[in-house]
Symmetry: C2
């Protein structure tokens, strides 16, 4: 992975605080701005939203923040009043270093229901702040990993209002992933100047096409958090509204970073051996396109067939038909990276399947479904199901 340039006004860091059951890995991450930064966030819609989500959702609404403090190894979810108190103490861990609790967003990931060992976070906070560097995004990304096999970072550079700006981000997956309005944990920083309102608007739009388009297993987490901090250090007038050229330019960069990160989550889904884009075209409505693409992407039968590079298109047809949308089979077409499998609802035969199987042996491919009902489009990013997925999740807490 290419090196990520620094984002002016920010430092990133990661250290081992001893939160994880099995040590030897960093588990506490910090993104800190040199001064107050504009901020925006989107969070899980799960009714069981974790304590750090409840706390950070309220803070993000204020529109300004200095830092994000995130831990892996414990989700601090379903932990009741004690969990809220632990999240508050976590946010206050840098107060002696001059960063007020009101300026710190917190995020947690790991086992649900276990109490957060917040004293360990308090003990490690000063060391973490000292370790944070402008080029430390990789350390940050490693410290938020759980069952991820690799860190996930992305960046874009571009021009906004005539100034060169940078957007960088880090995120983690890798299970309980079908975010609803956000993702597991994703953090972006930019040196662009923007007010919280338009920043929130562009983040929400970007999430729709990126993190909200990922599914590993159809399970929506209690801790999904995506936030962005903007330092304004690139200079120039701030983006003040959710419209106009500067807004569009920055939104494009934010969206691209989010899509890169989201695809990285799907590619590194638990036990995954392949990245799969399920693309639905010719849908009647955006809703229909999303429902069909998501149903296919969540079908264990489709995912196991992908694992085996078996172009078992009947499973895709069954998933489409199960959506309850009165879709006419005779208009459905299916192909895999250009290899046609189904036309007008009927399979094209053994030779076509052999060609599709060749495409499916690649580590990345697109299942394209055309519904013949309209012009709406939706891509959902997912991965195959392997026996390793079962192994990882059967042994997760042991």
């Amino acid at each position: 992975m290419a090196d990520i340039p620094a984002v002016a006004g920010f430092r990133w860091g990661g250290v081992e605080a001893g939160i994880r059951k099995h040590g030897g890995r960093p588990d506490l991450a910090l993104l800190v701005a040199d001064g107050p930064a504009a901020c925006a966030g989107v969070f899980t819609m799960n009714d069981m939203a974790a304590a750090p989500v409840l706390l950070s959702r309220a803070k993000a609404a204020a529109g300004t923040a200095r830092a994000v403090l995130a831990n892996s190894g414990c989700a601090n979810a379903c932990t009741g009043a004690q969990g809220m108190e632990a999240a508050r103490r976590m946010a206050a861990a840098l107060e002696r270093r001059g960063i007020d609790a009101s300026e710190v967003l917190v995020a947690s990931t790991g086992v649900i229901g276990a109490p957060l060992p917040v004293a360990k976070i308090e003990a490690a906070a000063a060391k973490l702040l000292a370790a944070a560097r402008p080029d430390g995004i990789r350390d940050f990304a490693r410290a938020i990993m759980t069952t991820d096999t690799r860190e996930k970072i992305a960046f874009r550079e571009g021009s906004v209002s005539g100034r060169r700006v940078t957007v960088a981000g880090a995120c983690k997956g890798a299970g309980m992933i079908m975010p609803n309005m956000a993702t597991m944990l994703g953090f972006l920083a930019t040196d662009a100047a923007a007010e919280p309102g338009p920043l929130q608007a562009m983040l929400r739009e970007a999430a729709a096409d990126s993190f909200n388009a990922v599914t590993v297993d159809g399970d929506t987490s209690t801790n999904d958090t995506l936030c962005i901090l903007a330092s304004g250090r690139a200079g120039g007038p701030p983006v003040r509204e959710a419209s106009g050229g500067a807004y569009a330019a920055l939104r494009a960069l934010v969206r691209e970073v989010c899509v890169d990160l989201a695809r990285a989550i799907a590619a590194d889904g638990e036990g995954a051996t392949k990245f799969i884009e399920v693309r639905v075209e010719e849908a009647f409505s955006p809703y229909e396109a999303d429902v069909v693409a998501r149903r296919i992407a969540n079908s264990p039968l489709v995912k196991t067939a992908c694992h085996a590079a078996d172009p078992n298109w009947g499973r895709i047809m069954a998933a489409i038909g199960a959506c309850g949308l009165t879709i006419d089979p005779q208009r459905v077409g299916i192909s895999v990276d250009g290899a046609d499998l189904v036309e007008r609802g009927v399979g094209l035969g053994d030779e076509a399947e052999r060609e599709a199987a060749v495409q499916m042996r690649k580590s990345s491919f697109t299942l394209l479904v055309k519904l013949g009902r309209g012009s709406e489009v939706r891509s959902i990013y997912t991965c195959d199901y392997s026996a390793e997925y079962v192994k990882i999740n059967a042994e997760y807490r042991t």
Copy 2:
């Protein structure tokens, strides 16, 4: 499994017709009545309903049938006009033996998209009819198996209008199982006397609490078919309406047979090592109870935790919260076969988890979730997810 008594007026049989790719197993099944029988059926709601479903749905509406002819090894689904012609020829396979095509319901299960080798069915039909016996239900049940590891049969005896009646049934699972309005393949026979209208009403009611309460993998098949034939040979006045004592008595027997069969499907889900009942109580509405129970039962994370006997209740909370029902976590309780795990949304600690883990090591247990919002109840039957599930479905067509 106990022997199933004969149902007066019916014969069952199964033979090998050579439909399966790998031979050596029976693949063609027949249930035949001595004369015209009242019949009723419920079928998949999948938009991609297979040719035999389209044909049998129309025939069942007529209310009278002589026979059900079913094959495994090929679903005859997504096969277009050729598939409809093949299904029609299949229904006509016993015409030379005096059973008109209009009296024969057909059903198929197996690979989707492959053409039905109907000539093999025609060639084997006479042999199959000759092999059918009053006590042949086990042969029938074996011939409709696909990835099932054992045949599934059930029966009940009881009194209807003062006459002793018998209801017997056979079904198959074991993958692409989350029936919507019916099940993969299920066939019942009774010697009770009943008209088609009340027979249809009781079958639909029974399906709601049995086959429609099963999920193995959340995938709804193109071929789900459940039907019942009633010979009237028990004597007595026929059940003429969907109300009254005789209706209730027969409905209870039909329902119990369906529940037995549905539980057998869940217990024999692909790769399953445990039968799990997910029971939701204190729901606000029947819809809410069903949505929550189904979401938990379909969660790969819950199913893999069950496989490992890990009382990872955080995954159950996350699944509940992901339903979008604005459920208050502080009212939620969770237990496993009497071992309490969660009260008021918070875990009860390590000792409680150890006791729950003991329950989860059994081959059958109930996950009970109380929502604290009302008095509605729903049970969904499912199984755990093992690495074997992935193996079976990755290699299904090879």
